[in-house]
Structures are given as structure tokens and as C-alpha cells.
Point group: C2
């Protein structure tokens, strides 16, 4: 009888032990799955690539006052007759240009828009490094803003080779691309049907950065000059 | 003595049981973690968004033969004097245009490039729905390809309002956008410095689709006509 009781106790003990450990196994498994899911989720959030900015602007733009963007520290609000505080395609373009903190590379066929010129000059005052490439025939046209830029010490180059330097793009801090059909003129902004893509997509920005640097080097006056001198020397040598 | 032996057996049994279950707990935990990681990985791969196409083309393009693209079923290879089998910016542009299977919406300021016209006409033959918007002043210039397109029954519209319909973009099947500074002319392709962004990024494509549809409606001749009739009626009513 005593022996039977002992056996019963052993069996009971074993069953209790098994149940306890089964609960432990299930518990730990659930915990392991939960912890793994949470950890992977955290890692995903931590290293997830942020979606780059992609925006499209269409023109003609509504005409509105942009003084608050160009003179943000003016003591009084602007009292001009234009609508104020309106978000337009042009004000968005200005905001993107004015967001430059280190560099602005500008490659435009025609540049005669005075507001955009003021924006570039204010960047210059803030110490932003500015490089401008423009078409040789359009640099000197009436109303061109290339003169004021040059007067402010901004380096402007033009290439003499191609029929037209027809690009219309800007690179803000080497990471934001503004490109489309829009020349930097008043007609383009206020009258024509135009478009601009504004993007930080590296696959789109990178080729434009490379192309700008290539064209900048190609338009180096020293290079043109040295080529000219070289040609002159070759010509003289031919005469000897 | 017998009792002590029994106790020893019980203790041994308990220890053995504990070790066995510990191994089970650790094993099942490792298995749970592995299965969870694998499952999440599979789900990530399964539902991962494919990166949309993003490409940049620069011009002037190298001049090369594109007959293999325009007449892929020609019985003999082309024997023209141009280089063959060269991948250029222009051949890539042609490939993108020719990839249309359902629709091509074209919104270009100037269209005089005969190869691009052939590409559009071959799409028309394949049953692709084509809509063309062009600038009113440039539709009738020398070398314009708008005439041949209209002769082939392609619907071409132009807006009379804006100073210039200066866009240069195409939408292939409503999902691929080709946009930049390049007009569809020979000079733009072979001589000028130009750019084109080719993208399937929905955030960039969607606004262009909407803008094309807006401009298409705006340029509906029936609308212009009915507006004209309306004005005429109003004028007549004013006289009564």
C-alpha cells in the first residue's frame, strides 16, 4: 500500500513536471516570436530609406506677391496690390531655390526673371557657392539677368560649341534637382504652359550633377583660351 | 536502503526530465525565431515594391542608324552609311516611345523629327490610341510633322490661350513619363544640349497625366466652337 502510494506520488510529480515545462516551452516560444518580430520591425524602421521628395509644378503660375520670401526680415509686410499669402507654383519654385545652404548650380537657356535673380543674389549674400551656365546667344539679350549676376561676382559660363545650350535645370546643394521646360523668364512663369519636376531621387539627381560638372569644365574660359593659344601657336608654327 | 535507492531514482528521473525539457525549450525557441525570421523575409520579398524606372538621357545624341527599331521586320539589315548597333540617347528615347502598347499622350511645343514621326505612325498602325497637343504657332511651320500625323487620322489639338504651349513631355501607356527640355526636332536631338527624364515614379507621372487630360479638354475644338457660338448668341442677344 505504502509502495503504491509512493508510485502514485512519482507519477503525479512527473505529470506536474511535464505540464509545467510544456507551459514554459509554449511561453518561451511565444516570447521568442514576439521579440523577433519587434526587433525586426525596429530594424526596418531604423534603416528604412526615406522616400525622396518628388513634386511637379505646372505653369503659368498664379500671380501673387513673393516679397515675404525674398525679404523675410523686412520690418513691414508688403503693401503691394498683388494677392498675399498665396501658395503658387512660382512661390514653391522660389522656396526650393532659396532652400540652398551650400551650393546652387544653374544651367538655363534664358534667365531674365528678376525675382529669381533676386533669389540667387540673396543666396550669394548668404555665402552659397553659385555656378551659372547659360546659352551664349541669350546671355546678352534685353532684360537678361546674367549682367547683374556677374556684377555680384557670380561666375557665369557659356559654351560656344552647341547650337543651343537648351537645358533648364538647377541643382540645389547637389541633392535637389529642379528640371523641366521652364526657362527662368517672366513669360515662362506667368504666361506659358510649362512644367518643372522637383526631385531628390538619387537616380535622377546624380546624372544631372555629373552633366553639370562636365559642361562646366567644357565651358572653362581658360580651356577655350588655351585651346585658342594652342591653335594660334600651331598656325604660327605652320608658317615657319 | 531500498527507500534511499527509490529516492535516488526519483531525483535522477527528475534531473533527466528537466534536462530533456530544457533542451526542448531551447530547441523550440531557436526554431520559432528561425521560422519567424524566414517568414518575415519571405513576406518582405513577396510584397516589396519594385523600384520604378528612373533614367536620364542627355543630348546631343550620337548619330546612329535606328532602322532596326523603326522597321524590325525588314527582310534585310540596313546598309546606310551611319554606324549600326549603337545604343544612343536617341535610340533609347525611340525604344521608350515604341514600347507603348495601349496609349501615347504627346504634349510638345515643336514636332519636326521624322524618325519620331515614323515611330508614332507605327504605333498608330499597331492600334495604340494617340493624342497629340502642340503649340498653335508651331503646328504649321516648315518641316512640322503634325500634318503627316493628322493625315494618318491622329487627333492633334492646340490651345489658343497661352503665349506658348511650351511643354515637351510624352506619356506612354499612362505610366511612363518622358519629360525635359527636348523638343521633338532634329536640331534638339543632334545639335543642342538637352535633357530628358524618363520615369515610372507614380508621384511624378500622376500629375502629368492629370495635366494632359486637363489641357486636352481645354483644347477641345467643340468647346472652343460652342464658346464661340455662345459669344455670338450673347452678342446677337445684346443687339435685340
Amino acid at each position: 500500500m505504502d509502495e503504491l502510494l509512493r508510485l502514485d506520488v512519482t507519477v503525479l510529480w512527473t505529470v506536474l513536471w511535464t505540464v509545467m515545462w510544456t507551459v514554459k516551452v509554449v511561453g518561451v516560444s511565444v516570447l521568442a516570436v514576439s521579440v523577433t518580430v519587434e526587433l525586426l520591425n525596429w530594424l526596418r524602421r531604423r534603416y528604412k530609406k526615406r522616400k525622396p521628395l518628388n513634386e511637379v509644378l505646372f505653369f503659368p503660375s498664379e500671380v501673387a506677391c513673393v516679397e515675404h520670401l525674398l525679404s523675410p526680415s523686412a520690418p513691414h509686410p508688403c503693401y503691394c496690390a498683388l494677392p498675399h499669402g498665396v501658395d503658387t507654383s512660382f512661390s514653391r519654385l522660389l522656396r526650393h531655390v532659396l532652400s540652398a545652404s551650400s551650393s546652387l548650380d544653374l544651367c538655363v537657356f534664358a534667365f531674365s526673371n528678376t525675382d529669381l535673380c533676386r533669389a540667387v543674389l540673396s543666396l550669394r549674400k548668404r555665402g552659397v557657392v553659385i555656378r551659372v551656365l547659360s546659352d551664349k546667344d541669350y546671355i546678352a539679350i534685353n532684360g537678361s539677368q546674367i549682367g547683374p549676376l556677374r556684377k555680384a561676382g557670380i561666375c557665369v559660363r557659356s559654351d560656344g560649341g552647341a547650337v543651343y545650350m537648351h537645358h533648364k535645370f538647377a541643382l540645389v546643394d547637389g541633392s535637389l534637382l529642379i528640371s523641366g521646360s521652364l526657362n527662368w523668364t517672366l513669360t515662362a512663369v506667368q504666361a506659358n504652359m510649362e512644367n518643372l519636376i522637383v526631385t531628390m531621387e538619387p537616380e535622377l539627381v546624380r546624372p544631372f550633377v555629373q552633366e553639370f560638372n562636365r559642361l562646366w569644365e567644357l565651358s572653362d574660359p581658360a580651356r577655350t583660351l588655351s585651346n585658342g593659344v594652342q591653335t594660334e601657336l600651331e598656325r604660327t608654327a605652320g608658317h615657319d
